[in-house]
Symmetry: C2
Amino acid sequence: MYALYYWPTIQGRGEFIRLSLEEADAPYRDVARESGRGAGVPALLHFLQGRGIARPPFAPPFLMAGRLVIGQTANILQFLGTRHALAPRTESGRLWTHELQLTIADLVAEVHDTHHPIAVDLYYEDQMKEARRKAADFLKNRVPKYLGYFEKILAGTRGSKFLLGAKPSYVDLSLFQIVAGLSYAFPNAMARAAPKYRRLFALHARVQERPRIAAYLASPRRIAFNEDGIFRRYPELDAARKTRKT
Amino acid sequence: MYALYYWPTIQGRGEFIRLSLEEADAPYRDVARESGRGAGVPALLHFLQGRGIARPPFAPPFLMAGRLVIGQTANILQFLGTRHALAPRTESGRLWTHELQLTIADLVAEVHDTHHPIAVDLYYEDQMKEARRKAADFLKNRVPKYLGYFEKILAGTRGSKFLLGAKPSYVDLSLFQIVAGLSYAFPNAMARAAPKYRRLFALHARVQERPRIAAYLASPRRIAFNEDGIFRRYPELDAARKTRKT
């Protein structure tokens, strides 16, 4: 039984871990969402404060696996990938999978910064002006760079259903979350961009139809996107709606 | 013989790889700094463009090791750590080392954003106003959070010379670079902060005195810090100079 520690009211970076645990059908507690002794946000903060913890994580998410406490999203996924066949077994395959995940981590940080370009500790409202500039650049330059890259990689895997073969890896699950999240946050921009990223959107659909993922998404375990998470729908940061010529 | 691919005129993220290769005494070419056929920046761009490359990296640095092409700084370090005893052998030790490196990667991205808070493709001069706000928050809130974290971890390793024992790991080398870089970029702020991070500065000194690292730093292979890299000295982003009371 794993114990996942992450903020209880957002998908955030924790969601990448949840998706892998769900696809692997691995039993886990989502500790900060439980109540009672040793649970809830206090249990999470206990680890972060680090008193008596030999290897305290810097930030959530972190995962307890037996006596191991593992921090950093991509690090946790690499660990789960090996244990639950969500990554190839060869060294070259594992390195490549992790490399792609680290590029996704860079993208996730940039998504976060579209609404928090100045300071993570300030409210969005206190950096809205800068956020508009940042988000415009993100949609114009960064989304094409990242999504174009993954589209190119997918084009090179002709014949295989997922990025690394017939079965999904943790990177496929993470790309599902990227497409879902960007589509939530920037519905106009993404609707316009979708034709350029057919393979990526098709991958999103294939992951969504996996029986365990579909069951998870329909369950109360999946927290809805909201404006406290990484992917936030602020209409002023999205592209303008397409107007139909009459 | 390894082949490192990174921009030829800056330390940047490539420097974390160079430090590990140097400490390991591993032979390597620094391809984009060489001239001639198959070398220089064109050789680097060839991989990024990805034509005929099965697994093209998203960005430099990347490392060729035999037929492997490995991208993403932390991923390369993990690979080198295993091969050259720059990380523990146990699973728990390797996970912890990588976790710390990924936290360093997050910090490096935030350092970069102090001078490029809006867009990586715009000049610093075009986002100076935002950079001032970003850097002020970085020095006030983020430096204490990150350096305080590493100082706390170092405090927990009483008796050992380096983070993970008697020998330096790739994380020790990376923390050396963090202290060196922050001290270059923000001399006033770091001079003021130094007493709070005695262990971290002591670690920096110990790494600097390693014979191979000392030889490397004195060689032309070490590119000087400059205002094209990640750590840039822009006086307007640093704290004000301490004035002596007379």
